[in-house]
Amino acid sequence: MQTNEKKTLSSLVTGLILVAFFFGLLAFINLGTSSYIQRIVIGLCISIILVVSLNLSSGFTGVFSLGHIGFMAIGAYTAAILTLPLSLKLSYLPDLPAWLENTQLSFLPATIIGGVIAMLVALFIGISIMRLTGPYVSVATLGFMVIVNVVLTNWDSMTRGARTFSGVPPYTNLWWVGGWTVVTIYVIWRLARSSFGRQMMAIRDNYIAAQSLGINVLRMRLLAFCVSAFFTAVAGSLWAHFIQSFSPKAFLFDETFNIIIMLIVGGMGSISGSVIGVVGITILSEVLRNAERGVNLGFVQIPPVYGASQILMAVIFILLIIFRSEGIMGKRELDFSRIFSFLFRKTKRKEAASQ
């Protein structure tokens, strides 16, 4: 019992240290770096939210969803319609229903409403498609994404249809994305560690066996799907207020494959793996994007080859899948309390040595 309490305490301390470190890093980035670096970090945090929440349904529960970008679109459009300044609303979206035409919310409630709507949609479609398994569920979710796209493209009065939805206020900054990243990781980590999480993993590993143990497969899958839809929509809202102008075609296959690649590279079923996957791929693709414009290596000048970054990334993914098919982390997690105690012991030993 005592050891259990000690363990909880130490993981609490570890968590607090990590959060403090994370916000310290954000403060440094906010003050000490160019807005180019800040933009990369904002994009990175949004991807972390997307991939970690996708991991809950795809990695932990085994519902391999290809339609999550549909939830992102729902979150982005809902929040953007709610935060659009009233004057712009009148000229951009003149056909909105009156109660919506005269509503302007601040960022947080708009984002949460976007998340809740996505969650309700997930519940609605989930009741039917969460009964499917394996590739069938992937195809069904893909269909969902296409449906969302068609609705957005044709619902002119709400979304401006295929036309660019612009004028979204630039609310997203490092603190908003940082805060939501911490909340997302915390909630999903707690969920994955709870008895719910154990049940989800049991379903993923063998759903017939799980069912025979009395686990309600449909309910667990729905839970994972809805929570993950909520945070995906939150990321959508953050992205909308970051990019400020977008159209339905932004929420299609390109973005879907982006987050799936990050998920697979990091490791399906590992939250720290998701973070590592996102950070690694984001930094690598930025470096390669700058490098493909031509590099001077001192002795030789490499001419610009546009598109080389995508090719190189693809080669790296193929190699990774061949040599480490479970992703960088697989299903394991980084154990920070062990890392900390390891570092701590090292310094202690050094102190002892110097004495």
Partner: protein
């Protein structure tokens, strides 16, 4: 193992930081930096890559002739990868690291709006070479300019040409509901055409990427009255298929559309059916039938890249670069604000895609429209017109 991962991560970060740290020289005869953003990879590449080539050719010609204000022009280019997030990052780099004095690029509203606000925030003007939505400049007031005509201009030109010159009084309207461009085009066309006294007897729609138009064709054929001609607002990927299927079903009425028709597919896919088709575009890219400046441009482009210009977007990229250079030389300064003011005051700039003038307070130019007639699989110059009246954006 872990250590090596850590080291490599640090190395990657260090490279990233190093690549961001640009040199900041400011002698008087250093080159003038102009930011150029195009998607040479991804879905926009077929329009953007020729534009980028055109812009590079223009810069080369300007530099060969002694540059601007006695200084050379240096293009600072980033590939947007048809991705709004990447474009935002690249635009930020152009502003912060490269400190460009003006920016240009893109053939799409979404892409333009991902970059232009970032430039505007830094007081830098953005000229889009190929995004034709006349609503664009209002969204980034004072700092976003179109170097091409707006969709309202080309739609009005098409409507007036059909009604006045070709004497067509009734129209069948088919619109792609999946694109901002086609929706606006058909809206402006209908507005101007009905204002002139024409009548739209049937309207129908489809979605970008549709492959089967038999339902639309059946509806048109089943209609009690038949139109004088068909106005089809379509993008470059679909128009070939549409013309082919309409012609195959025996409809030989004239078909008209906008600059989305400006693709080799318009003639290749329908084959023999590619006749009696009109479209409004920026210029006729033909080495024999084009205007003299276009002929010169085509031979220079062919000499530089080994193939003739892929489409009119190459000429637009070329014009945009020269337009910016013209503004810099009239501003007699490389101050971004002065360049903006000089650009806004552009009058009768002799572009190869037509004379260009910005009226006070407007980022959409007054510019002539070229109407092309496809006859027996050959593109011929129909007319060059300036519409009498243009629908409000």
């Amino acid at each position: 193992m872990k250590k090596s991962i850590l080291i490599s991560v640090f190395l990657v970060i260090a490279t990233l930081l190093a690549s961001c740290a640009g040199s900041t020289q400011s002698a008087t005869n250093t080159p003038i930096k102009i930011g150029v953003l195009y998607n040479v990879t991804g879905s926009q590449a077929s329009l953007d890559a020729p534009s980028y080539n055109g812009a590079m050719l223009a810069a080369k010609e300007i530099n060969a002739a002694g540059g601007v204000l006695g200084r050379q022009i240096q293009i600072v280019f980033f590939d947007g990868k048809s991705d709004a997030t990447v474009i935002g990052n690249a635009a930020t780099q152009l502003v912060e690291t490269d400190k460009v004095v003006a920016m240009m690029g893109f053939s799409d509203s979404d892409m333009t709006l991902a970059a232009a606000p970032i430039a505007a925030k830094a007081g830098i003007v953005f000229v889009t070479s190929g995004a034709t939505s006349p609503k664009l400049p209002d969204q980034v007031p004072n700092y976003l300019f179109l170097a091409c005509f707006g969709d309202n201009v080309q739609a009005a030109a098409g409507a007036e040409y059909a009604y006045n010159t070709l004497n067509y009084k009734t129209v069948y309207l088919l619109t792609d509901q999946g694109m901002e461009y086609t929706k606006l085009l058909s809206k402006y066309f209908k507005e101007r055409y009905t204002e002139l006294g024409g009548q739209a007897i049937l309207e129908d729609s489809y979605q970008t990427g549709d492959k089967d138009f038999s339902a639309q064709i059946t509806r048109l054929k089943g209609n009690s009255t038949q139109p004088d001609f068909l106005y089809i607002a379509a993008g470059p990927d679909d128009i070939g298929t549409i013309v082919k299927q309409f012609r195959d079903s025996g409809i030989d009425k004239a078909i008209m559309g906008g600059d989305g028709y400006d693709t080799p597919l318009l003639v290749q896919i329908p084959g023999k059916g590619a006749t009696n088709v009109y479209f409004t575009t920026h210029s006729l890219m033909d080495p024999n039938l084009g205007t003299d400046p276009i002929k010169k441009f085509i031979s220079a482009y062919t000499a530089e890249y080994g193939n003739p210009p892929e489409n009119a977007f190459a000429a637009l990229g070329y014009d945009t670069m020269k337009l910016i250079a013209d503004a810099i030389s009239r501003a007699k300064s490389t101050d971004s604000k002065a360049i903006r003011d000089a650009l806004a005051a552009t009058k009768d700039f002799p572009g190869i895609t037509g004379k260009l003038t910005y009226l006070p307070g407007s980022g959409v130019p007054q510019k002539g429209v070229t109407i092309i007639l496809v006859k027996d699989q050959k593109l011929t110059l129909g007319a060059e017109v300036v519409p009498e009246k243009i629908p409000a954006p």
